[in-house]
Assembly symmetry: C2
């Protein structure tokens, strides 16, 4: 996968794509691709995290995330390019697909 820092207009385009697919909640927050997912309960929230964790490990690209009960806030960035890369967009798409599968 391409592994360079995306330009602002590329990030903007990716955000539009992500937000047109699911609920429009992806933002660029403090340089990180960010979304707060809300689930029915803890089981659903941690189930989502488990699927995403397996994917992240397989791709060797991991999220920052915070969980409390049914809420999961994720923040994606690529350390070695000091910005957003296609790896983050890919992980965001996977998260969106996983969450919408409910």
């Amino acid at each position: 996968m391409t592994h360079r820092k995306l330009e602002p207009h590329e990030i903007e385009q990716a955000l539009q794509q992500l937000n047109s697919a699911g609920s429009p909640d992806w933002t660029l927050d403090n340089g990180k691709l960010t979304k707060t997912f809300k689930f029915k309960d803890f089981q659903q929230a941690f189930g989502f995290m488990t699927v995403c964790a397996m994917y992240a490990e397989k791709k060797d690209h991991h999220p920052e995330w915070f969980n409390v009960y049914s809420t999961v806030k994720v923040q994606l960035t690529t350390h070695d390019v000091s910005g957003i890369s296609l790896k983050d967009i890919d992980l965001a798409k996977k998260m969106e697909a996983t969450a919408s599968r409910g």
Copy 2:
């Protein structure tokens, strides 16, 4: 399990017990029982979270936690007593035991 807000001296005692068992990293941070666990890698960190998540769900008492790669920061509190209860001490002990098992 007893479900009342613990007094400061009870929390202090519990912290001493927790810290004598494992590494002395449990603190009271902003009214929450707090520890930052460090693991070898993401697999170990998320494995820890998975065991704790099952336990939390079973006990119906859930943590706030933040994970990035091999680090897991947990913050425990009991909302309906607006403080620390024995439920938090119990979950902290489980986390300590799970983490030290490697």
